[in-house]
Structure formats: structure tokens, C-alpha cells
């Protein structure tokens, strides 16, 4: 097997390269500028794509490299841009695709993959001859290899997309990744003001407040650096208390390694209860004050 690995996030490139090391030959492509040491994760060649990084241009460039280099597999990190490039390239080269995989094994010329399905309610394990894969972030803990990549600069062709402006996200000052205890609120909290009502609980357990994506990104009730999940922070506290969070898989992806999980949700069938050690079904505004007084006893 010979794989071409691509992501607009070079840390994901390092993770994917680590996960296939020893199982497949690999080259990698990244968008300029290159991250320090990215040439040390086992790619024989490292293509540095320079110019305006429109996904159409990246896809055209990588389609050409893929065809000319006679690669068997295209592995893209599953980011917004990675999925776009994978979609374009799979169509341009007419290659079958498998998406959002969290595990990859090579078996007799075929590949065995795992991905979540039905909104994350099931884990689908399949054997296929897919040639284009989108790979979830965190498929492995990136580690360096002995060899150094040969750097090849590639000028991207013209893109139909114009980049007007880059807007950095607002950041606060907490690092919830290191927090020992987290009280996390979801859309069920209802408003920014209501966050005050759960602060006594956070104080009682000496925890940091965090939130789901709608709370941090959509409504901005909390700053974005408090978002837990696939596209937010991965946390591993001793205790994770989820209040009014439904437990969609992208949220779970960020808190799965918490030691003890407590969930409060008014919906008995909310998926968060599948991922909780302890759950209480009911209105969080009724339960939280009771919990605070019980904790103080």
C-alpha cells in the first residue's frame, strides 16, 4: 500500500502518519507554511502546497499528485477543509470513499474501518476497498520516526475562491483540558443568565464551567475555549457533570475519557445517559439546587 496523507491541520497529518507507520508507505501534503518537525513523522515525501489554498486548487493539485504517484489510498484528516478536498478528489478520480473513520486496519489488500453511524448511536465496522478516507482527529498519539521527509514544494493552481479576511476566534483564559472537575452546560441551560444558577454547583465541587458547542459557539453564552467536543477541547477530569446536554457523539468525543460522568437531563432517552455513570432524569433547575445542598451536608 502507498498512501497520500493530507490535512490542513498538520497535527492531524502527524497522527495519521503515526497510525499507518509500518503498515503502508506514505507521503504527506500540507498547506504552507510547514510546521516545525512535521518532516519527522515517517512521510517519505512531504509536499508543501504554496499559493492561495482554495479547496478546489488543493484538490486539483492532490488529484494530480495522487494519479502520477500511483498511490493506493488518500487519507484526509476529517476537518471542514479535509472533507471538502476528499469529496472533490474522490469525484475527480472516481474513487470510492469511506468517511469519518476512527480506526483503520489493513487486511489482505482490503481495509477494515470503524466509524460512527446513526448520529453516533452505533459503531459501524466494515471491510472495503475504499481508496479515499476521511480520518477523525486523534486516530493515534503522534510520535516521531527515525527518518526525515524529502521536502517538495508545489505551487497551487488558481482558485475560484477569494479569501477576503481571517477572523480569529475569541478566547478566554481558562484551560479546561487540565481541569480536574468540570461542570458542563448544554442548550438545556436556556440562556446566558441561567449559567449563574449552576455556578453554586461548580463552586461546591471546585470545578470549571464548560459547555457544548451551541452554548459556546452558536449562542456565545460561554467563550469558545470552554467548548468540549470533537471540534472543541478534549477533557479528562476526575468528574464531568453534564447539565442539559443531549450527548451527541461530537460532544462525547471530547469527554469520553473522563473518570466519572454525571448527567442531568429531562429527557429519559437522551443519549448522554448511555455515556454516564450516574444520571438523574428531570429539570436541571430543580435538581441543581438540591444537589448543591446535599453536597454541603
Amino acid at each position: 500500500m502507498k498512501a497520500l496523507v493530507f490535512s490542513d491541520n498538520q497535527e492531524i497529518v502527524a497522527q495519521i502518519l503515526t497510525s499507518i507507520r509500518g503498515k503502508s508507505d506514505a507521503d504527506a501534503a500540507v498547506v504552507s507554511p510547514v510546521m516545525e518537525s512535521i518532516d519527522q513523522y515517517g512521510a517519505a515525501k512531504l509536499y508543501e502546497l504554496t499559493g492561495t489554498p482554495g479547496t478546489d486548487a488543493i484538490s486539483q493539485s492532490l488529484s494530480k499528485i495522487f494519479a502520477e504517484g500511483k498511490y493506493d489510498l488518500f487519507l484526509a484528516g476529517s476537518t471542514v477543509r479535509g472533507r471538502e478536498v476528499a469529496g472533490m478528489l474522490s469525484e475527480a478520480l472516481n474513487l470510492p470513499a469511506m468517511t469519518e473513520i476512527s480506526d483503520l486496519v489493513f487486511r489482505d489488500g482490503k481495509i477494515v474501518t470503524k466509524r460512527f453511524f446513526y448520529g453516533g448511536k452505533t459503531l459501524l465496522e466494515e471491510e472495503s476497498s475504499a481508496r479515499v478516507l476521511t480520518v477523525m482527529p486523534g486516530i493515534s498519539e503522534a510520535s516521531r520516526s527515525q527518518s526525515r521527509s524529502e521536502l517538495v514544494k508545489v505551487e497551487l493552481p488558481a482558485s475560484k475562491i477569494t479569501i477576503v479576511n481571517r477572523i480569529d476566534k475569541m478566547a478566554g483564559s481558562v484551560n479546561i483540558e487540565k481541569a480536574q472537575v468540570i461542570v458542563s452546560v448544554g442548550r438545556g441551560i436556556g440562556s446566558k443568565e441561567n449559567i449563574e444558577k449552576v455556578k453554586p454547583l461548580a463552586e461546591a465541587v471546585h470545578g470549571e464551567i464548560a459547555g457544548s458547542r451551541p452554548v459556546c459557539l452558536d449562542y456565545q453564552w460561554l467563550s469558545e475555549d470552554r467548548q468540549v467536543g470533537l471540534s472543541g477541547k478534549k477533557v479528562k477530569p476526575k468528574l464531568y457533570i453534564a447539565l442539559g446536554i443531549s450527548g451527541q457523539i461530537q460532544h462525547i468525543a471530547g469527554m469520553r475519557t473522563s473518570r466519572v460522568v454525571v448527567a442531568i437531563n429531562k429527557d429519559k432517552s437522551a443519549p448522554i445517559f448511555e455515556e454516564a455513570d450516574y444520571g438523574i432524569v428531570g429539570d436541571l433547575f430543580q435538581i441543581v439546587p438540591k444537589l448543591v445542598s446535599a453536597l454541603k451536608q
Binding site: 468517511t99 446513526y118 451551541p214 428531570g282
Partner: protein, 248 residues
């Protein structure tokens, strides 16, 4: 200026209601109601908002089955003007879906095609790129904001680390993120009117399909205790003990 917008709408089983078999962990799909996929609703809402602001027309395409007219009626109720239901959908095969949809898109005059960035049941997330490749129209991806100015479409594209404002000429493909809007709940009158509106239905030609061998499809194993209390007071008393234990 008014815009002709095509919106791509997927119908899915109601995954929120889906249960897995407690014994085997396999999904129970029988008798599961169907509904409009989440991101497709954001796409419809975005298209209808553009119509409300600039004028024009919203056409929806569903690649579905005979059972998808309900999803089209829901789309009508939200403000879609004309609906095309292509039948013959047979599971999640993005390469088939993309070709079927792109073929239809090419027959409808349009300034924009709007779709979800990643569908809520399968998380495939390939259609935007595939349809852009098949139509040759530029992709403005994962939009949280759309602004039209003559023949230019500008979107704020939400990336993992930062947002980018990007633009291109129309016709263009725009995929939308969940955060772009709150899909409307149509009033009863509109729902009733939608029921009477005709749907253009036609079968979609067969396409070569890529299949995989399913080794297993089960609820993921987790070692969580899953002790859930429905009695609040008992729950509070037990859970507070567990919390004290956990943070000791």
C-alpha cells in the same frame, strides 16, 4: 437582485428516537418515523431567508424514496417553492447520491446550491465537495453567514481554528453549518397549504454503487455504570454521594 436557489434535502430515519437492541447492540430500524435531516433544515432556512431578503425562488431536491413526500411537504411548509423528488435512494452511498443530485442540478437554472455541511445520521460530509467537482461550481463551505452582492456570494466559513471570509462568483455551492440559523417551525396554515402542493416525482437512473462488507454495527461499548434515577430525590441523594467520592 433576486436569486434562484436550489436546496438539497435529505430524509433520514428519526435517529433521536432510534434505540439499539439491549442484547445485541444493533440498531432497531423497524417502524422508525422518517424526518428531514437536521442540516438540511438549516439549508432550507438559509435559502428561504435569501428569498425573503432579495426575492427569487427556492427549489428543493430530495434523492429519496416513495416515502419522501412527507419531507418535501415539510420543506414546502418552510418556504420552498418547487420540489423535485427523485426516487431510488438505497442507503448512504455518497458517490451515487452526488451523481444523481448533480445531474438534476444541471437541469435547473440557479445562482446557488445550498446543502448541509455534514448530515446528521451518517456524518458523511462529502457531498459538498463532490457536487462542486461534478458541477464545476466553486464551493463556499461550512458557512455561518451568507451575503449576496450581485453576482458575488460571500460567506463566513467556520473552520476549526478560525473563521475565514471567502467569496466567489455565482453560480456557487454553499454548504452550511448548524450555527448559521435556527430553522423555522412553520405555522399550521402553511403546513396545510403545503399538503396540497404538487411534487415533481421521477425515478433516478441507477448508478454504480460502492459497497462494503459490514462486520458489525452495534452501539459502542462503554464501561459506564449507567445508573439512572427517575426519582429526583433518591437520585440527588445517591448522586451527591458518588460526586463526593469522585472528587475526594
Amino acid at each position: 437582485m433576486p436569486y434562484n436557489v436550489i436546496v438539497l434535502v435529505k430524509q433520514i430515519p428519526d435517529i433521536d428516537q432510534m434505540k439499539t437492541d439491549p442484547g445485541t447492540g444493533e440498531p432497531i430500524l423497524q417502524n422508525l418515523p422518517l424526518r428531514v435531516e437536521n442540516l438540511s433544515k438549516n439549508a432550507i432556512e438559509a435559502a428561504v431567508k435569501l428569498k425573503e431578503k432579495h426575492g427569487g425562488k427556492v427549489s428543493a431536491i430530495i434523492f429519496g424514496t416513495d416515502r419522501s413526500s412527507a419531507a418535501m411537504k415539510e420543506s414546502y411548509a418552510m418556504g420552498v417553492d418547487e420540489g423535485f423528488l427523485l426516487t431510488g435512494y438505497d442507503g448512504n452511498h455518497p458517490e451515487v447520491t452526488a451523481k444523481v443530485l448533480a445531474e438534476k442540478i444541471k437541469t435547473i437554472p440557479h445562482d446557488l446550491v445550498i446543502l448541509g455541511n455534514q448530515s446528521a445520521d451518517s456524518y458523511t460530509g462529502l457531498l459538498a465537495g463532490k457536487i462542486s467537482a461534478l458541477t464545476g461550481e466553486p464551493l463556499l463551505g461550512n458557512a455561518v453567514r451568507i451575503e449576496m452582492d450581485g453576482k458575488t456570494a460571500k460567506v463566513t466559513s467556520a473552520l476549526e481554528e478560525y473563521n475565514l471570509e471567502i467569496k466567489s462568483d455565482t453560480p456557487a455551492i454553499i454548504s452550511v453549518a448548524q450555527e448559521i440559523n435556527e430553522p423555522r417551525l412553520p405555522p399550521v396554515l402553511q403546513i396545510m397549504a403545503a399538503g396540497r402542493k404538487p411534487i415533481n416525482t421521477q425515478p433516478a437512473g441507477p448508478k454504480e454503487k460502492f459497497t462494503s462488507v459490514v462486520i458489525s454495527n452495534r452501539a459502542p461499548k462503554s464501561d459506564r455504570k449507567r445508573i439512572v434515577f427517575e426519582d429526583v430525590d433518591k437520585g440527588v441523594s445517591e448522586v451527591s454521594k458518588a460526586i463526593k467520592e469522585a472528587i475526594r
